[in-house]
């Protein structure tokens, strides 16, 4: 899969970082503004896909190794489950056991919810990017099969 023209590559160099930052902002402020883990994760995945579309798969493979994607998916889910299981120490599964430790409407409040958002954001971001890579690999195999 080849990249696009020089102008696209030049602009992408700036916008990838901005999109990633925006996605991280939505993930982290999930308990204050609409969004949260899933929506922020989708935007993080979009930044990776933007990179692959502009530069081509070979270039992207050097920057984002596949081991990292794999690890990100599994660790995101395990982290989320671990937060839930830690709630048992205070009584119930998924209990919000550090609620009330901050002041409302600030960034450091609402207990375990920001951690859950971060875990979901990592998992969804890497997961959607893996789906995109997997689907585009099929296209490659079919084109090579025809030739």
């Amino acid at each position: 899969m080849n990249g696009m023209s020089l102008i696209v590559k030049r602009v992408t160099r700036y916008t990838v970082g901005l999109i990633l930052l925006y996605g991280l902002y939505i993930v982290l402020h999930g308990h204050l503004t609409p969004g949260g883990g899933f929506a922020g994760g989708v935007i993080i995945a979009l930044s990776f896909i933007h990179f692959v579309l502009a530069f081509g798969r070979e270039e992207a493979r050097k920057s984002v190794p596949e081991r990292l994607l794999f690890l990100g998916e599994s660790l995101g889910a395990i982290f989320f489950l671990a937060i839930g299981l830690l709630g048992i120490t205070a009584g119930f599964f998924f209990l919000n056991f550090i609620a009330g430790a901050g002041t409302p409407f600030r960034l450091f409040s609402a207990g375990t919810i920001p951690f859950c958002n971060i875990a979901i954001g990592i998992k969804v971001g890497t997961g959607l990017f893996s789906i995109f890579i997997a689907l585009s690999v099929f296209k490659l195999a079919r084109e090579e099969g025809k030739k």
Binding site: F70, L71, E73, S74, L75, A77, I78, L81, G84, L85, G87, I88, G91, F92, F93, F94, L95, N96
Partner: protein
């Protein structure tokens, strides 16, 4: 004890995501880890049955009480379904240690199987209607992926057909949930039963939602006329997945969810009962008639699944205590012997490479374990004493006579006789026939496949022989929770 309930969903989910990371460290690490997880879950389920807590046990997630939070319910019916799900998944996992060597990417299979197990446990335990829908979707998505696991042409086609019909069913169920939420403004099943009992019983909204749910859940459980996906999906899947699909999935997300919602939340009335009885009767008959002309081993078993699910729905739709008990007992028995039959078919396919009845023969000498367990399962499904199938079919037929429906009882007896004939045909063609060109070098199945098949056959025999205490202590309390209907859930809300 309360926190033990969480293990049933959290442990398989944890295993599904940790398996690719941790399992690579050991040699055959995936197999060992999956078998340990399913064995410990079966031990937990058996512990709950033999040391029962005070039923009903209500577990609120994150200590948000009903009606604000998500609650889980453990009552005799849930405990019974937990045993069925976990024990049969344990046997299927042991079987697939050897069987899935034919496929590449075995760790992906184990991840999907653990996800399916987490979803099945969640459906059985959940007492919140949207939570039930989410776990139902987890089971459905992992089963779509598992049916297409071999990625040959026929498997992918069967999985696509299954996926389209399954997603239509899920859309209908979600619309039904939306209507119920609009009417009762709560999602908790206890609260919903309470709110629905205060309004008119036969209002038009309730009839519409009942129709949506019968379509949706009936499609998931392959009642006729929604059975079109089953004869394609079950044969094309790998054999342990066919056993899981036919033995557990269509029962848990189809019949258990249908029974739970229709008995405990809506309250069964005579119109719904007649409709479900008619659908069950048609399923019994159509399944067995279509199975007569089949020469593919697994496709024949899939059609027989439709017919036996018709038995279960007939039993449960009666609404009398004996009828519900017979239906639930047949549900467990069918899980056991149908899984065993599909595992046998897989073993025959593993050894000979074909599923066609006309091409195989004389396997009695070269595969004695498969042959004897297949004989046990065939006698069980045909209803021959002292195996387990005889007792459950007898209870259903007696309940049909008692409820004054001789037509359905005669239909059940006729279908039983045709089933017996069909399975004698399988036994003759696959195991006992002498054919001219013998299969050379047919070996018996590998050790784990043999162990799991023998374990299931022993279970068939044990349930059949120790029928009386099993029925009295486990089945009758489970049937009582369904028969008590809406009042049971209203009582839980109050107490």
């Amino acid at each position: 004890m309360m926190n033990l309930l969480v293990i049933f969903v959290a442990l398989p989910l944890f295993a599904a995501f940790a398996l690719p990371v941790i399992g690579r460290l050991l040699r055959r690490g995936f197999d060992i880890l999956s078998v340990i997880v399913t064995a410990s879950l079966s031990a937990c389920a058996l512990y709950i049955i033999f040391n029962p807590p005070v039923f009903p046990l209500v577990y609120s997630m994150g200590s948000w009480q009903a009606p604000f939070g998500i609650t889980w319910l453990l009552d005799p019916l849930s405990a019974f379904m937990l045993i069925a799900v976990n024990v049969i998944t344990f046997f299927v996992t042991v079987y697939s240690v050897n069987y899935m060597e034919q496929y590449t990417g075995k760790w992906k299979y184990y991840c999907l199987l653990m996800l399916m197990l987490a979803g099945l446990n969640g459906v059985v335990l959940s007492a919140d209607i949207f939570n039930l829908y989410v776990f139902l979707e987890i089971v459905a998505i992992s089963s779509y992926a598992l049916v297409a696991f071999g990625t040959e042409a026929e498997e992918v086609e069967a999985s696509f057909k299954y996926m389209i019909l399954g997603s239509i069913a899920s859309a209908f169920i979600l619309i039904g949930i939306g209507f119920l939420y609009a009417k009762t403004s709560t999602l908790n099943m206890f609260d919903m039963a309470d709110a629905l009992s205060k309004s008119a019983l036969n209002s038009r909204l309730l009839i519409f939602v009942s129709a949506l749910f019968i379509t949706g859940f009936g499609l998931k459980s392959a009642l006729v006329p929604f059975h079109a996906w089953l004869p394609d999906a079950h044969p094309s899947a790998p054999a342990p997945i066919s056993a899981m699909l036919s033995g557990l999935v269509i029962k848990t997300i189809g019949i258990y969810a249908l029974a739970r919602i229709f008995f405990n939340v809506f309250g069964i009335n005579s119109v719904t009962s007649e409709l479900l009885l008619a659908l069950g009767g048609v399923s019994m008959f159509v399944g067995v008639i279509l199975a007569i002309g089949q020469w593919d081993f697994k496709r024949l078993l899939a059609y027989h699944s439709i017919s036996q699910i018709g038995y279960v729905v007939c039993g449960i739709a009666l609404g009398t205590p004996l009828g519900i008990a017979g239906g639930i007992f047949h549900l467990l028995n069918h899980s056991v012997f149908k899984s065993l039959l599909f595992l046998n078919a897989g073993s025959v396919e593993y050894a000979t490479g074909t599923r066609d009845l006309k091409k195989s023969g004389n396997l009695q000498e070269s595969m004695p374990h498969t042959s004897w367990t297949s004989l046990v399962a065939s006698l069980s499904i045909a209803g021959v004493p002292p195996f387990c199938g005889f007792w459950s079919k007898l209870v259903i037929i007696i309940a049909l006579f008692q409820a004054n429906r001789p037509f359905y009882a005669a239909l059940a007896i006729l279908v039983g006789l045709i089933t017996l004939g069909s399975f004698l045909k399988i036994q003759k063609y696959v195991f006992y026939r002498k054919i001219k060109e013998k299969f050379l070098r047919i070996k018996e199945a590998p050790v784990f496949m043999r162990l799991s098949m023998m374990g299931l056959a022993v279970l068939c025999l044990v349930i059949g022989i120790f029928f009386k205490p099993f029925f009295g202590k486990i089945i009758m309390p489970a049937a009582e929770t369904l028969r008590a209907g809406r009042e049971y859930f209203i009582m839980i809300l109050g107490g």
